[in-house]
Amino acid sequence: MNGFELTQKGKLPALPLEVKCPDCKHPLQLYTYAQAKSVACDRCARVSDVQENGLVPGKKVGREKQEPLIPIGSEGRIKDILYKVVGFVVYKEQNFKYRWREYVLFNPVHGYSFLAEYDGHWTFFRFVSDFSKGAAKNTTSLYYLDREFKLYNKYRSQVMYARGEFSWQITEDNSQFVEYVAPPYMLTHSFSKVDQSWMLGEHMEPETVQETFSITSPMPYKIDVGAVEPFSDNFSYQYVTKVGGIAAILLFLIQVLLFTFHQNKVLLDQTFTVTEEAGKGTLVPVPGPTLEIGSSFLGATNLQVILRAPVTNTWFATGISLLNVKTGREYFVEVGVEFYAGFEDGERWTEGSPGTDQILSSIPHGTYQVYLQPSRETMAYGTTLPETFQLKLVQDVPIWSNFWIALLLIGAVPLVQGWRHYTFEKSRWMNSDYSPYESN
């Protein structure tokens, strides 16, 4: 049998049973037929018990009359089961101000399910019969569906308004509820003096609920984070960390490969003597050697420039010009060193260094003429000006800054998602008295 697709009449009701409210005589339709235990009138909010001799009037639950967002009688398919909305309840937690709403869903073959909405967050509940912890009420976590469910809330509810039909006495229900969460799932244990049950809830996106029941009215605005709202359906922190981790490993392997194949070829390692231009105070340019700069794999390479000069309380710099003898293209860079030292309050201090290095990137291969343009202070006060300098040029060196920057770029997304996930979870547990984020 397929529920609403029944063709055999008399076995399960295909049409609602028409009855009248015993109080205001408003016509009521019972979709669940003999399974309803109480019926709430949508006009006068009188809750009547369904008994053999008819409807027996009971309490009124109209203090906070509210139109259900999903009208009674609406149909929608959830997890391939066609449900009809047969009841609507507005609940309040005892001793607290906040309210939530529940819709009772019915399928003649699959029975009852519930759709709960609180602060714009929707959860679909079904009864489960393969889990039970007996009457244990003090457990702080449970294991089900290979997940750890953590204690989230304990409460008793109070009916503020009801409409439709229910399979229990809604005004007499004094059950206590305990909720455990493992987003997107929730396990709810309800127990009273006479019975207990377990329900498994699953988060539903508001858009899905809207589409399922063809809701045309605006959906309730989402406030904060829902108890079982998942952080991200398709971009979870676990996924991002896994992909980022694999990418970091790949990056490291590529760096190891590049490191292995880097030539680190010394093209020049020479000490030069400076000569002052007569009467000008500047230094004479120094012609350097002709160098053959090869390439790594794609026609270009990098060049590490290492300069050392005997500077003490002074500075020294040199411009390095590389002129491609074939193309005429020139590459120029200036590197300098400065080193200062002294005593202050009996303590020695130093600043700078007599050596420095720079990397010139993407130098096309070819033959280059080197020209040097040294410079230094024109006058020395209490120090000696450098007369020589050592210059070293190394071709095809590994660039570690590239590795660290790439690692930072790869790690940025997991870091950001990790932070967002942490603040999201903290926000989720703000509504719980059992938050693992609060200190004792």
Binding site: N234, F235, Y239, V240, V243, G244, A247, L250, L251, I254, Q255, L258, T282, P285, P287, S296, F297, L298, G299, A300, T301, N302, L303, W315, A317, G319, S321, L323, T327, G328, R329, E330, Y331, F332, V333, E334, V335, G336, E338, Y340, Q358, I359, L360, S361, S362, I363, Y371, Q373, S375, D396, P398, I399, S401, N402, F403, I405, A406, L409, I410, V413
Partner: protein
């Protein structure tokens, strides 16, 4: 955007890894460098002529 966020992220990772590999093979530094380039004869700096010094010191 949410539907394609995974693909965008994977594309971003591939871009980083790809450019890192390219930079390693061509000797390119992500942060660039201080070198100046000029064509033949187009600068007073060619053939060893005097250039303005830009090394900042105390």
């Amino acid at each position: 955007m949410n539907k394609y966020i995974k693909q965008i992220f994977l594309g971003y990772i591939l871009l980083v890894l790809g450019y890192f590999s390219y930079a390693g093979l061509t000797g390119t530094r992500f942060l660039g460098d201080d070198k100046e380039e000029s064509e033949a004869g187009g600068s007073s700096g060619s053939s060893g002529g005097y250039r303005r010094h830009t090394f900042y010191h105390k």
